[in-house]
């Protein structure tokens, strides 16, 4: 278990979240002059992304994130993203949020699993940050925040050894262990099998620094190569062309972590025959996952179920449904199996002395004036971060 894992986990999952939200918001975009007050416009999309990104890359929050620490529990981390997704005018209910979190986690699990070298998880992170910078290119202040995080990443991770990255990768894989939610984009691309396991290719470029397998070299006592023979490895690999750039800006070479939902991948709005078949096949599984029955894309029409919801605050919040209809969303919420339930942690007042000190410290860093009698509960490690996010 590496204590350097959380920043990578948080930033990459956050990046995936922004990809999904951006794509759904774009798909549902109404030209500004034609939109009714309750319809999403380009202005709204930018505002949502801006709000979430600036919350995500808040300087104090990043400082806390980058401190060496264990990983938060799945439940706590889920709560962090719940809060993050609601940092703007957009509102997601439980079922849509679950759906979003499933998509994020499976996407990043795929990227970690397919990473050529453990160190390349840093390139995946840079790919996410590069895309995020694209989302907010018109907002220099937020852009600066993200650049600051990129610099921090380079500073902390740039000099870590291959062994340390291997441990980070193992920690990430432990976090994602036993998670086999099927994602229709992956199934369609044939990178995920119907049992939820990812396809591991045995062809293509080998990792940078690795030779194409198939050669045995013999050396004499003087270290001179005296014989070279070949054997059949069984894979069909080619040499790596070049190493991706770990600089602030550069060619990452690696595509993992880039936006897989971009332009040439239209939003699917119809349930295909294949998906029906897949759904029925799922039911035959020994341990069925009811959620997997809902094919991602037909369920996750981001703007499909949009409606105005009167918020208690001064501004109306836009509700975002990741499902085609409200009924489906409701059904998903009811049929979600116990073991996949994240149950968002509520932060309430409590009297935990030890935790109070810790929270007081963190709150101090946030320079927020607080009424002294109001304290917050920490039921698990994640709450420290949650407490901070509350205040962002």
């Amino acid at each position: 278990m590496s204590v350097r894992t959380l920043p990578l986990l948080f930033l990459n999952l956050g990046g995936e979240m922004l990809y999904v939200l951006d794509q759904r918001l774009r798909a549902q975009n109404i030209p500004g002059d034609k939109a009714r007050k309750d319809e999403w416009t380009e202005v709204d999309r930018k505002r949502v992304l801006n709000d979430i990104i600036s919350t995500m890359f808040n300087r104090k929050f990043m400082e806390e994130l980058f401190k060496p620490q264990d990983l938060y529990s799945k439940k706590a981390l889920r709560t962090v993203y719940d809060r993050l997704a609601h940092a703007s005018i957009m509102r997601l209910n439980q079922a849509s949020m679950d759906k979003l979190y499933d998509l994020m986690t499976m996407a990043f699990k795929y990227q970690v699993l397919l990473c050529p070298r453990p160190k390349d998880v840093l390139l995946v992170t840079f790919n996410h940050l590069d895309s995020i910078k694209g989302f907010i290119q018109d907002s220099p202040t937020i852009l600066h925040q993200v650049d600051e995080t990129s610099r921090q990443l380079t500073e902390i991770y740039g000099n870590l050894s291959a062994g340390e990255f291997q441990m980070i990768r193992q920690t990430l894989l432990t976090f994602f262990q036993d998670l086999h939610i099927r994602v229709s984009t992956f199934l369609k691309d044939k990178v995920q099998n119907s049992n939820g396991r990812f396809v591991l290719p045995v062809s293509g470029p080998v990792p940078w620094g690795t030779e194409v397998p198939g050669v045995i070299r013999l050396f004499n006592d003087k270290g001179e190569e005296v014989k070279k023979t070949e054997f059949k490895h069984g894979g069909n690999y080619v040499a790596a062309q070049k190493e991706g750039s770990f600089e602030l800006y550069g060619d990452r070479v690696l595509k993992l972590g880039t936006n897989m939902y971009s332009v040439n991948r239209p939003v699917e709005t119809h349930m295909s025959t294949t998906s029906k078949n897949l759904a029925s096949r799922t039911q035959e599984n020994i341990a069925p996952n009811p959620l997997a029955k809902e094919e991602l894309n037909f369920l996750a029409r981001l703007m499909g179920g949009m409606e105005i919801k009167k918020m208690s605050g001064p501004e109306p919040g836009f509700r975002l449904n990741l499902f085609t209809t409200d009924e489906e969303e409701e059904h998903a919420a009811l049929s979600r199996p116990e073991e996949l339930s994240y149950e968002v942690i509520n932060i309430q007042a409590t009297q935990d002395q030890q935790r109070n000190e810790e929270l007081a410290r963190i709150m101090g860093e946030f320079e927020i004036t607080e009424q002294p009698e109001i304290t917050e509960q920490s039921t698990s490690k994640g709450d420290d971060l949650l407490a901070m996010m509350d205040r962002l």
Binding site: M1, V3, G163, Q166, M167, T210
Partner: protein, 334 residues
């Protein structure tokens, strides 16, 4: 040459760790014991040759009420002529059990000492030598425990320094009556190998430099060090001189496990590229040089392998585990 046999089902899937499979071969009985780490727990089970699990047990490191158990890094059986112990390493403790895991006879708490909080503390790499159990740690030190013929009176007798980065694996070979012969090799995260002679005090014989790539798994056979690296290479060194004799571009991803069938000199290599290879090692009787040939290759589709072991000393059967996979896959020669 090898055929897939019936898998052994596990209660939980295997964690993404190197050397995440231990096999205990009991010569007098036709029974195999398997140990696999799931995460905060490890499962050990015994199985008849046809793969039917007979008895199983879950092991955990209990550190206190209300505290989640630390992640386990490895389980391994240490076989002595007089005793068999099951050793478990984790992020907080080293625990030693009777061979069936029923009774914990000893535990050792890791001490963070003056190391910074930026590094996680753990033990990893387990091997038996003479009457010692050697266990590697995150700091690069190797703890040597003196094991009595019976009972719980296990003593930490020595700490070996030679590595600067976390230990990954330790291999030993029973020295055949020769004095001064190398009988233990230790590997670390930077790829450095140390060759030792065990005894009342351990002596460092050779230090084989690394090349910036971790060495997750190492084996020792007839004075040959076999090392599997993060760049997919298998290298064979002379244990006494540390000279590189053979370099195999064996895999396309990091090697996760090596094992040796001592009776025949077969070397098993398993990697995250989903492949298992078996190599035949030989020492040329005239020139003394080390030779190798590729003997068998197997692809375990879509499985990032994390453990692999021969199931008998002649290497006619082997078993592998994969990340996220709740079964032990078995193969035997036809």
């Amino acid at each position: 040459m090898y055929r897939r046999e019936r898998s052994i089902l596990l209660r939980g899937s295997a964690a993404a760790l190197s050397n995440n499979l231990s096999v205990l071969q009991l010569p007098d009985r036709d029974l195999r014991h398997f140990g696999v780490v799931h995460g905060p727990s490890a499962q050990i089970l015994s199985s008849a040759p046809e793969g039917v699990p007979l008895a199983q047990r879950q092991l955990q490191v209990k550190v206190g009420v209300g505290v989640s158990p630390p992640l386990i890094t490895q389980v391994h059986w240490c076989v002595f002529p007089f005793r068999v112990l099951l050793v478990l390493t984790s992020h907080q403790r080293i625990q030693m059990y009777e061979s069936d895991g029923s009774l914990m006879v000893y535990w050792h708490a890791l001490d963070s000492g003056d190391s910074s909080s930026a590094q996680a503390m753990f033990a990893r790499g387990i091997a038996a030598s003479v009457h010692f159990i050697c266990v590697g740690t995150w700091s690069g030190r190797i703890l040597v425990f003196d094991i009595p013929a019976k009972g719980p009176n296990i003593v930490l007798s020595e700490e070996l320094a030679g590595h600067q980065t976390p230990i990954t694996d330790i291999a030993t070979e029973r020295a055949q009556g020769q004095d001064g012969v190398a009988d233990m090799v230790t590997a670390d995260d930077s790829g450095v190998l140390c060759v030792w002679r065990s005894g009342t005090t351990f002596t460092l014989l050779t230090r084989i430099p690394g090349f910036g790539v971790p060495c997750p798994s190492v084996q020792l056979w007839q004075g040959i060090v076999a090392a599997g690296y993060g760049n997919g290479q298998v290298r064979l060194y002379d244990a006494t001189t540390g000279t590189l004799h053979v370099q195999i571009s064996a895999h396309a991803r990091t090697i996760c496990a090596l094992d040796l069938a001592p009776e025949v000199g077969k070397l098993l290599s398993a990697a995250e590229d989903t492949f298992v290879h078996i190599w035949k090692l030989n020492r040329n009787p005239e020139s003394g040089s080390i030779e190798v040939e590729h003997y068998h290759g197997e692809c375990i589709s879509d499985t990032q392998l994390c453990g692999a072991r021969f199931c008998d000393p002649s290497g006619s059967s082997f078993a592998v585990t994969g990340y996220d996979l709740a079964e032990i896959l078995r193969f035997s020669s036809v």
